[in-house]
């Protein structure tokens, strides 16, 4: 079987697979058995980059991944994210402890600040006692090898994070042909990362909910190839079903970067529909902002959102901005 190409993770000397597995969708798999099978086939198919997050499915996504990676932990590059959303570094370290337990490991390859979404998140991150201190400490203590941040809202917020001067190893952002036309991370953030030797991690190659596929605007192959052809270390995509995984593995194994003219043609094809953000709800609405983030910033939550329903079901939920954590 042909392998998925490996790419450099920034200037670190580490290589990761050009296609990465998204943690949120793994938690959306129909059952645990399917999730186990998805991870197994992904590893067999050449995926080495695994994404996750403390707040995905109230820990289920990390729990399942931890179980599925048993015995394979050292063959792969494991990332998870911390969900302080402006809150203290001490909370971040508690979350790290939980993530390591769930993922059944003593260290992460990459630990990122999740969902930098609000205009004041960079200030809250870098402040005294903020999450920046937790990233530093975790790295020093050997609990995480590399650190970074993620967000889907606005290139200006990403730039503000970079301008804090914190030594990030990676930055994650939505990258797809619609993004290229609207509040563009590709145009505004990606070149800054290249300049600084920071690893760029692409996400939402299909715009998060794959609407352009459902509406027959672009094919999955076009969109995945577009994202993977950018100067990124990996493209993280969600795969909650085996047939989606198999389809994406095939695209990744056969991957050849698109020529510049084809990239331009794809951007041009979406230009009109991209111009008002109709396929990028993560930039223009709260739809993709998790309840932890909303509550920490005093934004309303949406009772119809899956994450909120899951949160309300939690017996231990205190109704406070975040659930109590074991110390």
């Amino acid at each position: 079987m042909p392998a998925i190409p490996l790419k450099s993770f920034g200037n670190t000397g580490v290589k990761i697979s050009a296609l990465g597995m998204g943690g949120h969708h793994l938690g959306s798999a129909s059952d645990e058995k399917t999730a186990m099978q998805i991870v197994k086939e992904a590893i067999d198919g050449g995926i080495t980059f695994f994404d996750n997050c403390w707040e995905y499915h109230r820990g289920k996504a990390e729990n399942w991944m931890g179980k599925a990676l048993k015995g394979s932990r050292d063959q792969i590059f494991l990332m998870t994210k911390v969900c302080t959303h402006g809150r203290d570094g001490s909370l971040a370290l508690q979350m790290l402890h939980e993530s390591l337990n769930r993922l059944q490991t003593d260290h992460l390859d990459l630990w990122q600040i999740h969902g930098v979404t609000f205009d004041n998140d960079p200030e809250l991150f870098i402040r005294k006692g903020g999450a920046a201190e937790a990233l530093e400490k975790a790295k020093k203590d050997g609990k995480v090898r590399f650190v970074g941040f993620t967000g889907h809202k606005d290139p200006a917020i990403h730039l503000k994070m970079i301008e804090t001067g914190f030594p990030f190893d990676s930055v994650q952002m939505p990258l797809n042909p619609f993004d290229a036309n609207f509040h563009s991370f590709e145009k505004l953030v990606l070149p800054e990362l290249q300049k600084r030797g920071i690893a760029a991690l692409g996400m939402k190659p299909l715009t998060g909910k794959a609407e352009p596929l459902q509406k027959n605007i672009l094919t999955v192959k076009e969109m995945l190839r577009y994202a993977m052809s950018l100067p990124v270390a990996t493209t993280i995509t969600g795969m909650e079903k085996l047939d989606v995984l198999r389809q994406n593995l095939k695209i990744a194994q056969e991957f050849e970067p698109l020529p510049a003219a084809e990239m331009e043609a794809l951007r041009t094809r979406c230009q009109k529909l991209a111009a008002d953000g109709r396929f990028e709800h993560y930039k223009v609405s709260l739809q993709f902002d998790n309840p932890e983030a909303r509550l920490a910033h005093h934004f309303p939550i949406d009772p119809e959102q899956m994450e909120v329903k899951e949160m309300l079901k939690e017996a231990t939920n205190t109704g406070k901005p975040y659930p109590e954590l074991p110390t």
Binding site: D119, A275, G277, R278, S285, L286, F299
Partner: protein, 358 residues
């Protein structure tokens, strides 16, 4: 334009009306806090408001007419249970010296315009009447059809101000100024004498307003959110207001309390602080949504004999709210989809307010 196509888009306005019930409830909760707050302000700050003193009037840009520093918002006129209460609100506002009346073709599927038209019967010539056209990217012909609807509902043969409503999508300026776009309707209606002055409104992002102004189109008015949080976050006050003033365009402020009173219900400021801040800016008027006589009385008290805040008072208020302003939590019109109406969403291929509330 076919009336049937208008009906279709009109029907989608229903979603917003239902959806904004939540906002109306939030407004109701405001009243109690608001009344108490006014009492507090009067006691502590010895506010200059004098019972029976007139509401100050200000120049409407370069138009030569004067408008009351407090304007009556049209959306909230469709909120009271019956037209009788709306009648009373409009009547008392007129008696107190409010002469600027706002509305929009899409508010409550036309109900807001119809109620205002009925309430202004016989008084039409005493007021500056504004309504807005809801093309949301569609062209000149749709706009001209909506103008006829609005004139009929408002029971008048002309508008004083006609504005493009809810310029909130980043490609709206391109669509408005495209050949056959809504800008052509504004120019034509003005030429025909059906409207005296033209402008646009929006609540989303100063960058979109600036793109509209950069077109060079001869707008007479521009409407924008102005409140004590705005100065800290994606600021219309800092970025758009000076550009409009420099060109002699009249600025109409709105959302002085956060759109649905969020700044007050959260305990951040009093209604008097919020309204006085907005009215102290170099604007022609501050449009305030008033859906009950209680709120009207409260706001009239604040507007009567109004004296602008001094710059250091304004700075102190901005400073007081700075930390909650920084993430836009009380300016949800900028940060969420909550304030974007269904007619516009449909035109821009977005899910309805029900499917994507925030």
């Amino acid at each position: 334009m076919k009336p049937s196509s208008l009906e279709t888009t009109d029907a989608t306005g229903l979603g917003r009306r239902k959806f904004l019930k939540g906002a109306a409830l939030a407004g109701a909760a405001t009243i109690g806090a608001a009344t108490a707050a006014v009492a507090r302000v009067e006691g502590v700050e010895k506010q200059e408001a004098v019972k029976g003193a007139p509401i100050p009037q200000k120049e409407l840009g370069n138009t030569g007419v004067k408008v009351s520093a407090l304007g009556l918002g049209g959306f909230h006129l469709g909120v009271p249970r019956d037209a009788k209460e709306t009648d009373q609100i409009v009547g008392e506002a007129l008696d107190a010296g409010v002469n600027f009346f706002d509305n929009a073709w899409e508010y409550h599927k036309g109900e807001s315009e119809m109620r205002l038209g009925a309430a202004l019967k016989g008084k039409r010539d005493e007021v500056i009447l504004m309504t807005k056209v809801c093309t949301h990217g569609r062209g000149r012909n749709v706009a001209m059809g909506m103008l006829e609807d609005s004139l009929r509902r408002l029971q008048t043969d002309h508008l004083d101000v006609w504005q493009i409503h809810e310029v909130v999508y980043f490609n709206d300026p391109d669509l408005i100024f495209a050949p056959g776009g809504a800008a052509e309707a504004l120019a034509e209606a003005k030429k025909q004498g059906k409207v005296r002055w033209i402008g646009f409104t929006g609540h989303k992002d100063p960058a979109i307003h600036l793109k509209m102004l950069e077109s060079g189109f001869p707008f007479d008015t521009v409407q924008m959110p102005l409140n004590c949080c705005d100065g800290t976050f994606r600021s219309f006050e800092k970025q758009v207001l000076p550009v409009a003033l420099q060109r002699g365009i009249a600025v109409l402020g709105m959302k002085s309390l956060g759109g649905s009173g969020e700044l007050v219900t959260s305990g951040t400021i009093t209604p008097a602080e919020g309204l006085r801040y907005a009215m102290s800016l170099p604007v022609a008027t501050t449009i305030s949504g008033i859906d009950s006589l209680d709120v009207l009385h409260q706001n009239l008290e604040i507007a009567r004999g109004f004296q602008p805040m001094k710059e250091d008072e304004m700075e102190a208020l901005r400073e007081k709210v700075r930390s909650v302003a920084a993430d836009g939590r009380y300016e949800k019109f900028k940060t969420t989809k909550f304030y974007d109406g269904d007619v516009g969403r449909e035109q821009h291929g977005y899910p309805s307010a029900k499917a994507l509330p925030l």
